[in-house]
Amino acid sequence: MRAKEVNSEMISKKGNPDKSADDKWVLRLYVAGESPKALTAYANLKKICQEQLKGRYSIEIIDLLENPQLGAEYQILALPTLVRKLPVPVRKIIGDLSNTERVLVGLDILPKN
């Protein structure tokens, strides 16, 4: 796997009292090259993570143009797609993540409605 690790911040400091210490978030963002949508998505993701999951997350960016075979693992069709690998269950959200509320719902950070 030649995934391009753009940013991997692992901070063990406890930020959110609701979550346990080993509750780390592993997120993977699938993009196709440095398209405007990909850049927007990455910026939005960074922002949301900083705000909601400070220090408890890692983001892996996979460029399918470079590694097309990686798309099958999580059934990636739409781009950009964000996959929450951890905590389980796996969740997928698609789009450039500009709708913050939906991202939070989709990632199960906020309960649905």
């Binding site: 399918l64 739409a78 797609t81 993540l97 709708n99």
Partner: protein, 579 residues
Amino acid sequence: MNKTASKLAIESLQKSPSGIKGFDEITGGGLPTGRPTLICGGAGCGKTLFGLEFLVRGATQFNEPGILLSFEETIEELTKNVASLGFDLEDLVKNKKIALDYVRVERSEIEETGEYDLEGLFIRLAYAIDSIGAKRVVLDTIESLFAGLPNQLILRAELRRLFRWLKEKGVTAIITGERGDKTFTRQGLEEYVSDCVIMLDHRVTEQTSTRRLRVVKYRGSTHGTNEYPFLIDENGFSVLPVTSLGLNHTVSNKRVSSGITLLDKMLEGKGYYRGSTVLVSGTAGVGKTSIAAHFAEAACKRGERVLYFCFEESPDQLMRNMLSIGIKLEPWVQKGLLQFHATRPTLYGLEMHLAVTHKIVNAFKPDIVILDPVNTFVVSDKEYEVKTMLMRIVDFLKSKNITALFTSLTSGDTSLENSDVGISSLIDTWLLLRDIELSSERNRGMYVLKSRGMANSNQIREFILTDHGVELREVYIGASGGLTGSARVAQEALEDAELLKRKHEIEHKKREIERKRKALESKIATLHADFDSEESEAVKLIKAEQDIIKKLEQDKMEMAISRKAVMEKRAPVNLKKSL
């Protein structure tokens, strides 16, 4: 734009053969190369299978690797499903002839959070295409995306892009789609894929299902526009064009005996033409099957192979019944020259019957095929369809130079010369069996209604089933017309009696003359005897007289000598001469 150039381009539209039996014939070569084709139809009508067979045949027969992007079934499911049709997908995948990819779209897992496109799908497809150098792509069925992705605007735009992209890639693609209410597909895919649209249908009429295929549209190509029945069996898809074979089969001048000597005599003394189609029709119980069995037995005796389809009796029953008229079929079955196939016409649809016929004929390679009877199909389906089916069977058998014998039951209330199935025009030799009712007796009669290409007898023969087979009798032709059955027997007996009487009379006369001759002869004999005795008496008398004369002469001589006189000698009297 140069009009003629584009026209030429259309005319030389390249086609990729699908390898599906019959389909390439109706489309004039297959699917348009490098363009997407839409296959639409209801649930369970064979869309996926069509796509898969297109891929498998492409990979195995035309050296064109292919990709299947499945949105509905997983790879394992697909592999298992098509294994029953004889496709070994695993092997093909291993040899990089086919790549399978399962795309799962789960609405619950997808949350839309802004702008997106389906580049991921494109990339996966492109990756798959490049990895095996695919020339063929099947998307089955892309409509699942509509259920998974809420934003239809994006989806439709992306689909449009996808099909354009497929064209640019130059792959021959099949896109399947579920049939919609008023549109070809539920999601209106025909908007995007408009080069070639094929509709599959699975209809149930009278409890029998028939699959049908229709080429709705084929841009830049002529194509058959009919609905063609097709079927799916263990060898995959086969489309059966109604008249794909045309009427250009070569004919044989060879003749083949019907197995009944007098019937052969009615047909110029030689029997049917080889490769012709014979119809034996008649009302119930006139012996149609017996004629068929005779034909079969005669063929087997010549060492030919016979395929017997029976739709009303089981082979055992048929063989037993034929034994009663002295036709032994069982030894031929054991020798492998005769093969029975007994199925109820209602077992499956006409197309399946047709396909089964094709398959068995191709496997058994018979010289003679018997269908007994053909009109039981009418019960199960519409007459027109039966006719087209029989037409196809006739065409098929003729193209293989197989002599076919059909029997057909005519019901009592219709005209005898009107076969129920209306296939008379397809028939070369038509034997009609009829019952002749005369003086409260029902007898069988047979005549040759028509026989193409030969001077057949126009006589109605009496047809008798005996313990040594079918016998055709010369019909009694007398002053009062043709007589059959006991009337004929009575007439014949009458004539026989008369003849006998005449014979007796002649004998009698002969005897009388003999007797008279004998009487005459005996009379002659007595006369002879009388005469003989009289004659001997006379001779005796004459002798005595002569002796007396001699004595007298001697005496005279002696007297003369004594008197020394000279006397001249007298000639003696010839008694015999004077008699």
